[in-house]
Subunit: 239 residues, 2 copies
């Protein structure tokens, strides 16, 4: 099937997926480019592929103009895919909880590091940035597809984890425990906070332990993607 | 002095500082907001302060419309400052070299981590992103002002470092040495590369040692800001 009209009903649907509301309604989202499509194919979550190059496999062939209309990128991809949103999987032993993270680049970077350092699940608070924002997916470098990610009311969720025997770990700028001291804990949930405000006080008070990253007194804090990655790295290294 | 006209010659000069070329010509750059101004004041590098609020100290008072014209931000700052570019300081024992880094957010994050983990100097290759890009300065959270940063021809610079007795460290995705093994080296230069291509082969071959960050085989690589921060953290922690 070859589509050439910008007003074609399929094209209109695809363009609307740039809005979070429409992604939520349909349970679909867009990815662009060969690297992400390759990672999505591994997880069988592609609904349809759209291409402006008839030499490549696709479900719909369209003009470059149409790809430009759907795309958020400056340099356009030859193939775009419409994917089904991720399904929630069961929790395992290593959970990363993100309370109110706002920057899509930070979330993508954290997803990439969580896969690198073998965390099983990421749980986003309800006020975190949308997981299906194109910048999140790009910054994750396709690792997005390789980890369980869910969105929860954190107050209730932490109560559940507590009952299930997870040790809840928060962070402090200083005077916390060493990250290495956590290496023998089997079921662990690490909680990281918003870029400016950190973890909300009512969430932080539920933690059993608090860790700190040693650093110079000249620097008030690290980027949240960096701080999270250092903690996950340290736990992976010491396992 | 109160300026109300968008065509005032001062206003025209300030707006032009959004272009790299004009920043290079004049040796000046712009910062926005109280946090950055506070950090810049500590280093005495402010030429003049511009404000749309006459209750705040400033050299020039202007309308909000003028601030909007100068600013790159969505929510406008009440004060903007014009600063003198950084002067090169002498090298000390811990140098971070960035070969072809392109993303301003990554560079800002790395600057912040370099201050946190007490590196002395950052050396950018000639093809790296402009240090005075507003996104670099913002992502550094003001740490920009607290570290020696210079731009060099890396091939020549590495030869100089070699003569001066620095140990040059590169990174490998796998099979490199442990970062902890470097802790007894006094004069060290760590070289990190571009987001997609890594360090250029002619630069990489000049290294004396190569380190790797342990990670899952499911993940090809980390974000360069994260990888750099983990290496600097590990060296700081083990010092």
């Amino acid at each position: 099937m070859i589509i050439t009209s910008l007003t074609n009903s399929h094209v209109k649907e695809w363009v609307k997926l740039n809005d979070k509301k429409y992604r939520d309604q349909t349970g679909l989202f867009i990815i662009e480019g060969e690297h992400l499509i390759k990672e999505a194919e591994k997880k069988n979550c592609i609904k349809e592929i759209i291409s402006c190059d008839q030499s490549l496999p696709a479900d719909f062939y369209v003009t470059e103009e149409i790809i430009k209309k759907i795309s958020k990128q400056v340099s356009i991809a030859k193939r775009i895919a419409i994917c089904f949103k991720k399904l929630e999987e069961d929790l395992q032993n290593k959970i990363l909880i993100l309370d109110g993270i706002q920057d899509p680049g930070n979330l993508g970077t954290i997803i990439r590091s969580a896969v690198a350092f073998e965390f099983d699940s990421i749980v986003l608070s309800e006020d975190s940035v949308d997981l299906y924002n194109d910048k999140v997916i790009r910054a994750s470098e396709g690792m997005f597809f390789h980890i369980n990610i869910m969105r929860k009311n954190l107050t209730e969720f932490l109560n559940t984890l507590n009952v299930q025997g997870y040790t809840l770990i928060g962070t402090k700028i200083q005077d916390g425990e060493k990250i290495e001291s956590l290496k023998n804990i089997e079921k662990i949930a690490i909680i990281m906070g918003n870029e400016g405000q950190g973890v909300k006080p009512n969430i932080l008070e539920k933690c059993h332990h608090y860790v700190s990253i040693p650093m110079s007194s000249n620097c008030e804090s690290l980027n949240v993607g960096v701080a999270t990655s250092i903690i996950l790295y340290e736990m992976f290294k010491n396992k």
